[in-house]
């Protein structure tokens, strides 16, 4: 019990200081920070209407490259942690009994629509809200839906690795092209076109599509790895 009491004491101290610090920050008040520059510049320079995407992909593109690597490492790390040598003659059975008919029919209808929505979200990343991460996640939920409702729905790891690597290489090589052209890494070397039309924003659109594919394949891979290794009856053997 003393542990709980001690933890609560610490929490109250830390909480007091957090509240004290954050309530000194005025809420909802315009401060002069880097954000205003981005708001003015992103429609003018990059012709990108969604300034958050502009920041995420171009102004702070290095973060996103790091971000994509974190996801890639999480997938690899997960694979190495959950890795188990394949004993001979072992079937990958995901769920004990097939899910009910309603889910199967529903998912048949929903699956293409979710994929479409996902695709729309990350293709129009620089116009409407959303982008590579959100689109990829939506597609991952689509494949998740199929994985749950159908026992024999199998996601081929080979395909996932291919998409993942190619998308990553596209992203990195787009960066390198900027460097090769003598300017800087991840430079926006394509013409930026008009505001609010599909091809505006130079390489931002392409990068976000690559990120979208990568995130989609990686998240599906993550879920599949975790789902695959938990055969209920094979749990106790090691």
């Amino acid at each position: 019990m003393i542990k709980q009491f001690f933890v609560i004491l610490i929490l109250s101290i830390v909480g007091y200081f957090l509240v004290d610090a954050f309530f000194k920050v005025p809420f909802g008040e315009k401060r002069d920070n880097v954000g205003n520059y981005y708001i003015e510049k992103s429609p003018v320079d990059l012709k990108v209407s969604n300034s958050v995407t502009a920041i995420v992909v171009n102004y702070r593109g290095f973060d996103t490259l790091g971000e994509v690597t974190v996801l890639f490492l999480a997938a690899t790390g997960l694979g190495s942690i959950m890795y188990r040598r394949k004993q001979k003659g072992e079937k990958e059975v995901r769920a004990k009994n097939p899910s009910s008919r309603i889910i199967q029919i529903g998912s048949q209808i929903l699956f293409p629509m979710i994929i479409l929505l996902g695709g729309y979200v990350f293709i129009h990343g620089h116009l409407s809200p959303g982008g590579g991460f959100q689109g990829g996640a939506i597609i991952a939920t689509a494949s998740l839906l199929m994985l749950i409702s159908y026992r024999k729905f199998k996601v081929s790891h080979n395909a996932i690795t291919w998409i993942e690597s190619i998308a990553g290489v596209v992203f990195a090589s787009l960066g390198f092209i900027g460097l090769v052209l003598g300017r800087t890494f991840l430079e926006n070397f394509l013409p930026t076109g008009e505001l609010n039309d599909l091809l505006s924003g130079g390489i931002i659109g392409i990068i976000y599509i690559a990120v979208g594919f990568k995130v989609a394949s990686e998240l599906t891979g993550v879920i599949d790895t975790v789902l695959l290794n938990n055969r209920p009856e094979a749990q106790k053997e090691n």
């Binding site: 000194k24 401060r31 510049k41 702070r60 790091g66 942690i81 890795y83 990195a172 960066g175 890494f185």
Partner: protein, 496 residues
């Protein structure tokens, strides 16, 4: 392609994405790529280092074409350059060691191992090179995630337990750092370190204090200061051998670099330095004392590595020019010597599960080369004269004497006596005991021996003639302490 600091990070990332593909073509290509990448990085380190030394300027590379306060930039200054090139060269040597380290691991795992191995080094190099605080956080996360997965790599050990503890405390560290970055953004309005340092005097003291404490604890976890280093002994023991060397050599160094960059460049608050000295001394005392009572070899090396990090923290805490010089020299020495101790130590206790000191008895006759290098490393880390450790400890003591910190000198020396006792105890057991344990020994492969031998050569070379390194370290010290030139050169890039 023009040689620029961004390649430190871009090329390994590209290689990491490609390794799964190449893995499909033929199996051991996945093992060769990290070596090639690290070799290339060492090459560009040499080119860049003599570029900044000959022209006496700092290379500031902007990314995505936007000038610093708005875009992210990399800074290749004498300090960050020295650390980045040390990381890549040490990484290449350790890669040579791991080339055929554990053949029985099957291929899918080995491929993942090498991806994570390379990303660990790139993360550490990224932390050191970046000039943007949120980018520092992202690279910290890359290092952390690959560290968690690598710690839990072997199935037969308690890797999962160590990794979970590290993850639990590591996520606390990233939460605190994120909080600090957020508060900093509200006060200063920018994420670029140079800009922050410029605007820092305007921040009100209470907020500055809270932000500094959050950063201190956040980076303190990464650099193994006393109350925050619960995770490190377990992680060192459970991670594969070479990964332990990378932890000691790079990950912890990047952690303490982050702390130092925040304290020395971002903030101009000098009150935190005495705290750093006190915490450093407590870390040193506690870690060395526990190492004395340790029964297991790798856990002993882990605690001794924490003790050395405490020493580095004390050196940075004193804050004068000489003490920072001693601190960077200590960091360099510790990375090389502790790296070699871990590399050779792994082969001493290769097949034993419990890895206790009894398995090491009388191994001198069976593994003469490895145990000789281990003994050399032990003598060096303790600070015996003909080796590198002596000079760094001496410079630190001289710096402490200049500012009349007698208790600091006394405690450092008492701790060194403790260190001598438990390292000589191990050397004694290696050479002067009969071998009774029946664990069959693994003879290190040729490239492992070569890797260890290179490290030994560096130790002796620096020990006999310290001026090899002190030139670089002198520049790194002036670069760290001279805040104005850092701000001026970063903010003025691309203006002309």
């Amino acid at each position: 392609m023009v040689i620029s600091p961004v390649q430190y990070i871009a090329i390994p990332l590209m290689a990491a994405f490609l390794i799964p593909l190449f893995g499909k073509l033929n199996k051991d290509l996945a093992r060769i790529i990290p070596g090639l990448v690290l070799l290339y990085l060492s090459y560009i380190s040499v080119v860049l280092m003599n570029q900044i030394i000959s022209s006496n300027t700092i290379i500031v590379e902007i990314i995505a074409g936007w000038r610093p306060p708005w875009g992210i930039n990399l800074v290749f200054s004498p300090l960050t350059g020295f650390l980045a090139s040390m990381f890549s060269m040490l990484g290449f040597v350790i890669w040579m060691y791991t080339y055929n380290f554990k053949p029985e691991v099957d291929n899918a795992q080995k491929q993942k191992f090498y991806v994570l191995f390379m990303m660990l080094i790139t993360g550490a190099t990224g932390i050191v090179l970046t000039g943007d605080i949120f980018n520092l956080f992202v690279f910290l996360e890359i290092t952390a995630i690959s560290a968690y997965s690598l710690t839990a790599f072997y199935r037969e050990r308690d890797g999962a337990e160590a990794a979970f503890k590290y993850l639990l405390i590591g996520s606390f560290s990233s939460t605190l750092i994120l909080l600090a970055i957020l508060l900093l953004y509200t006060q200063v309005g920018t994420l670029n370190m140079a800009e922050i340092a410029l605007k820092m005097p305007g921040v009100d003291p209470f907020m500055k204090g809270v932000i500094l404490i959050l950063f201190f604890v956040g980076f303190g976890i990464e650099s193994e200061l006393f109350p925050l280093n619960g995770w490190s002994p377990d992680v060192y023991t459970q991670a594969p051998g070479p990964i332990g060397a990378i932890f000691a050599g790079m990950v912890v160094k990047a952690g303490i670099y982050g702390l130092v960059r925040v304290v020395f460049t971002l903030f101009d608050v000098k009150e935190i330095l005495p705290l750093l000295v006190i915490i450093g001394m407590i870390t040193m005392a506690v870690a060395e004392v526990i190492a004395l009572r340790q029964g297991k070899l790798k856990r002993m090396l882990a605690y001794s590595s924490i003790g050395q990090m405490g020493l580095v923290a004390v050196a940075f805490g004193i804050g004068t020019h000489d003490s920072v010089f001693a601190a960077i020299f200590l960091m360099f020495n510790h990375a090389i010597i502790k790296g070699m101790l871990f590399l050779s130590g792994t082969y001493l206790v290769y097949n034993s599960t419990e890895k206790t000191l009894d398995d090491v008895d009388g191994i001198g006759k069976h593994l003469p080369f490895t145990s000789f290098l281990f003994a050399l490393g032990a003598l060096a880390i303790v600070g015996m004269p003909p080796f590198a450790g002596f000079w760094s400890k001496l410079y630190l003591l001289m710096a402490a004497a200049d500012v009349r910190l007698m208790t600091v000198i006394a405690i450092i020396l008492v701790v060194s006596v403790i260190e001598i006792v438990y390292y000589f105890r191990v050397i004694h057991r290696i050479y002067f005991r009969e071998r009774i344990s029946t664990i069959e020994l693994k003879i290190p492969s040729f490239n492992a021996k070569l890797a260890m031998f290179i490290l030994a050569i560096i130790i002796v070379a620096v020990g006999v003639y310290p001026d090899l390194i002190s030139g670089f370290i002198e520049r790194a010290t002036t670069d760290l302490l001279d805040k104005q030139s850092y701000i001026q050169s970063v903010l003025s890039v691309g203006l002309k």
